[in-house]
Subunit: 337 residues, 2 copies
DNA sequence: CTGTTAGCGCTTTCAA
DNA sequence: TTGAAAGCGCTAACAG
């Protein structure tokens, strides 16, 4: 490995001069500069960033640590990346494994403090476990559940989104709207917030939410939704609308409906959550709750940069607004129900 | 910041002993060990990985650097991650910006050598530019084009996949199959390989590939495909099949067809490439070329680990096999054409 | 404008 | 089993 002192020797200058040429932090005379660059070129020298980072005490790198970068977090990452770059830092993504054990593992403190800041979304961890994550690096939590007060936290208006989607279908004539992927117990996760919104929409419409319409899922994949909805269609309660906990789940539902020849939106209306790009294109177009990705990203970046700048302002817990995007999977007018 | 020497002082031992306790590399007496751990706990000490890395000359981290982690590369990343973890290293993802300038930027040597190894997929760079990427770190190229011989390279059998998909539709009665996203010029990218396969299938069926059926796209998004196919439907040549250069493009096509009431597969058959998870579920199910993600991942990891182990075996250029997954968007039997 | 010194936090020798 | 010294490659601070 070629080091800076090799270059210095080759150019007949001190290491400091090489460093100055490379970083541009100090004025260096033209001829000296040229000799240094020539030496760099001829030796094929490359700065060692690890060494620079150790010296500087910063890595100029921010991590987005999420359970999966498909779907929602992929979209979020796409918006966060340019904002972080604009601040002169790099964004890297890390995937936490699904299970809580290795999730805690990947949150091992040493790794966290390798970064100037971290966006963290924890799927499997309970609130207490999160609370035990040391605060060595600036951390902004992303995620749809209660979080310890000692972290900044950005979350969506989940209940409101679910309410919007469900109310929309009720307005358009549905009377029995399934909550596909709704939590049955009283966990504090995203699914229970979304389920609460579903229930609230029913009550606002003068209907009593029927617990049998809440269909839990082992995970929020298309496959799980496909299977579960197949079961409901075969021998579950009757329904005429589906609020899917996210768009991926909605695709699984769509497949199950199509297989049985159930027409969308005529017989069953369908709405999802996340407004994935593909949801616009999948016929008949999936009505979906839009998370306002730009706002989520901008808020998260603002909080993290504030923290990285050393602010000790009180932690913020921000809930960002959502909106409903109506498409062909729900009806345009009030139907017969 | 608490350092190891703080812990050593607190525990009344030398730094070396602290290090040994923490890494477990050497035997340490029980009582000493306990005192060290107590000090670590009470001071809230965290190893500084940057320092460790500098000392070790390794970062135990591998990067997957891709233009986008949606779709194809997201799937690849999901398969690569566990394999890398199994080797005791971490996988991080970085996104290259779309444009070649900042792509070259993110490939700046210093960043590359921060990693023990790199999987690199370059979208915007030409072969010559890639050839100029310094070989400081072990690099395995991923991507569907000719690459310099000095790198290991994993690519798909693009031509074969396109041929399979097109031949399948021709067998099932299509006579005029659009190549949606096919390259028009003679660039050496993925799209021209796939277009070549499309043409070959025609010839094998005794048909003459019609260049007017090759529809170029500004980018391989659903939106671009939606627009372009809309144009073709409105005033382009007649067709009865579509080979979409990837599944994302296929979704855009599906939307354009649905808007105009064109029935799939009865009037137009449709096949894509990548076999995304969602393609299984989008009615009527998108026939797609499966890239064999597990094989791609295993091959790439094998090559990189070999390189990271210091091998100077000749560079390998591996083309991994693909297969066709038939679904409802193409016909089950020979139709009337 | 250029060079010298010191040290970021850790671990690999080597010695006790 | 424990410790002291040396140095990974770089740059801030200060001299010259």
């Amino acid at each position: 490995m070629v080091t800076m002192s090799d270059v210095a020797r080759e150019a007949g200058v001190s290491m400091m001069t090489v460093s100055n040429v490379l970083t541009g932090r100090k004025r260096v005379g033209e001829p000296t500069r040229d000799r240094v660059l020539a030496a760099v070129e001829s030796l094929g020298y490359e700065v060692n960033l690890t060494a620079r980072h150790l010296r500087a005490g910063r890595t100029d790198t921010v991590a987005l640590i999420v359970p999966s970068f498909h779907d929602y977090f992929g979209e979020v990452a796409d918006r966060i990346a340019p904002l972080i770059e604009a601040g002169g830092r790099h964004l890297v993504l890390e995937r936490t494994s699904a299970d809580a054990r290795s999730e805690m593992e990947s949150l091992s403190v040493p790794r966290l403090q390798m970064y100037d800041g971290v966006f963290l979304s924890v799927a499997g961890l309970g609130r207490d476990e999160i609370d035990r994550v040391p605060t060595s690096a600036p951390i902004v939590l992303l995620g749809e559940r209660e979080m310890p007060g000692r972290f900044d936290h950005v979350r969506l208006a989940n209940g409101e989104g679910a309410r919007l989607a469900t109310a929309h279908m009720l307005e358009r004539g549905s009377r029995r709207v399934l909550a596909l992927g709704g939590a049955v117990g009283s966990s504090a996760g995203m699914e229970s917030d979304r389920r609460a919104g579903w229930a609230e929409a029913h009550r606002a419409a003068g209907l009593v939410p029927d617990d049998r319409l809440v269909v839990p899922l082992p995970d929020f994949t298309s496959e799980a939704a496909h299977q579960a909805l197949g079961q409901v269609l075969d021998d579950g309660p009757a329904f005429d609308g589906i609020f899917a906990v996210n768009d991926t789940v909605a695709f699984g539902a769509l497949a199950a409906l199509a297989e049985r020849g159930v027409r969308v939106p005529d017989e069953v209306q369908l709405a999802g959550f996340d407004n994935l790009d593909v949801s616009r294109f999948v016929p008949p177009g999936i009505t979906s709750v839009d998370p306002g990705y730009d706002v989520v990203a901008a808020t998260a970046v603002r909080l993290l940069e504030q923290r990285m700048a050393g602010s000790d302002a009180p932690r913020e817990h921000v809930t960002t607004p959502v909106s409903l995007v109506e498409r062909g999977s729900t009806r345009a007018d009030v139907g017969p129900g």
